[in-house]
Symmetry: C2
Subunit: 300 residues, 2 copies
Amino acid sequence: MKKHQQEIINKLKTLQDHICKELELLDGSSHFIEDNWEREEGGGGRSRVLSDGEIIDKGGVNFSAVHGPVSEMMNKQLGLNGDFFLATGVSIVIHPKNPFHPIMHMNVRYFEMDNGEYWFGGGIDMTPHYIDKKLAGDFHRSLKEVCDKYNAEFYPRFKKWADDYFYIPHRQETRGVGGIFYDHLTEEVGVSKTDLLNYAIDLGELFPKVYAHQINSDRSPKYEEEHLTWRNLRRGRYVEFNLVNDRGTKFGLKTGGRIESILMSLPKNASWFYNFQPEKNSKEQETLELLIKGVDWLES
Amino acid sequence: MKKHQQEIINKLKTLQDHICKELELLDGSSHFIEDNWEREEGGGGRSRVLSDGEIIDKGGVNFSAVHGPVSEMMNKQLGLNGDFFLATGVSIVIHPKNPFHPIMHMNVRYFEMDNGEYWFGGGIDMTPHYIDKKLAGDFHRSLKEVCDKYNAEFYPRFKKWADDYFYIPHRQETRGVGGIFYDHLTEEVGVSKTDLLNYAIDLGELFPKVYAHQINSDRSPKYEEEHLTWRNLRRGRYVEFNLVNDRGTKFGLKTGGRIESILMSLPKNASWFYNFQPEKNSKEQETLELLIKGVDWLES
């Protein structure tokens, strides 16, 4: 491992530690359990899961740093120009218990080839079971603030990218209220490599803050059975996106990644009812109508 | 529509009617609800769902007959040599309530191009949450009996095909105890086109019989909460197969089929626990160990 690679890996491990500590504090009841795993061809990871907390129903915070020869499948999937690669990152999905708390996802990752080529990718997106416009606005404003520290074009560009990426074509619905998404980011964008790394770490550190803001706006909203039913149906959509559309998951499944770490993103349970239609003018219907691309959440 | 096409379509509609009637009798409590739908480019279908029965938790019996110009996406997915197609079939998935009753799937389909090319496809496979070897054997013996009426090579060939098709590579598990699967079947196999249609109808008529045999061997086995938990985890695997691996589902999602009819195959609910491992020597572990290719169920 080269020195700069080890530094990036260490920063991401520290980031994972920090996020897990903050999420445990936020939950207040349960703790992460860690599984260390190794990859036969090189590298490995630390998978951490928190289950049955006060706030969090199932949450996964994965760190991994894998390296080795570029396989034929990787080449086919990524179109790489090189023989050896390093891929490292932190990936999170939190499924809360309370239907009025949102599902939240984050991923920051770094990729490097032995020919010196590198790029960063990442994103944060939020999937409320019930959309609160003000809280969706707060979320986007926080993202914009971090983006603007590095490049004024990041937020508008990556916000649109998230709208397009976190989209379920067969449902013609966005996964939630979006957020930001970016990939193949290099210093060509006018930000130094050091700052691209800082940007990734800043986004990672933002994650527990924005999630805490969402949760602490009301730690225990009252709900009925019908809200749990809707939560489970929305979890079903999350499963559909992750298994059918998410490039990261599909890549992991095809290239033989550690299955339990890849599918940590799935909720503890999910539902599918045939042709379920929410009642007119219901909260559920209102949320559905907001699951579209191009909403300017900064104005909410 | 040509005369022979209309005949096939009528036989498949009659088959759907017959199966629905038999399944309602078997359930004894709930009834199918029908949705008729039309496809913009030509054709349509009758989707029927039975929910919350005494035996059946969620069951879908779809008939469809769609036709029209071959789209670019269809060409890409199927590699067709023609401009217009007809695709018609009956497709079923039954998710039972009781964890000791099996999930059962069947599909028979006919495809024809305007250049005269045609083929049949189909299959029946069974996914017990808990495998009963004797009942798995009964299932396979019934399949073999119908296959043998047409061609002695059908059962061994299509049994192996099912082992390979109903397989979840990322889990290294078969979906269940398999059954039969076939595709692109033409008279080149030494069976007349008329008999290939008869074979499809025979398999369709076999479906309610073999399912009734599984259910009536014990209509209400006692179960505890832990068995429901296991049922839901196995339903999770069913969701994974259908969304990640099933060619029919993927084709439907990509070519813009009617989404609620395609995803009728998903269970009412499903679960994912991180890295769940059944206890040693438990019934759950015993079932897991049997989810492998190449088991000769005829001997069970």
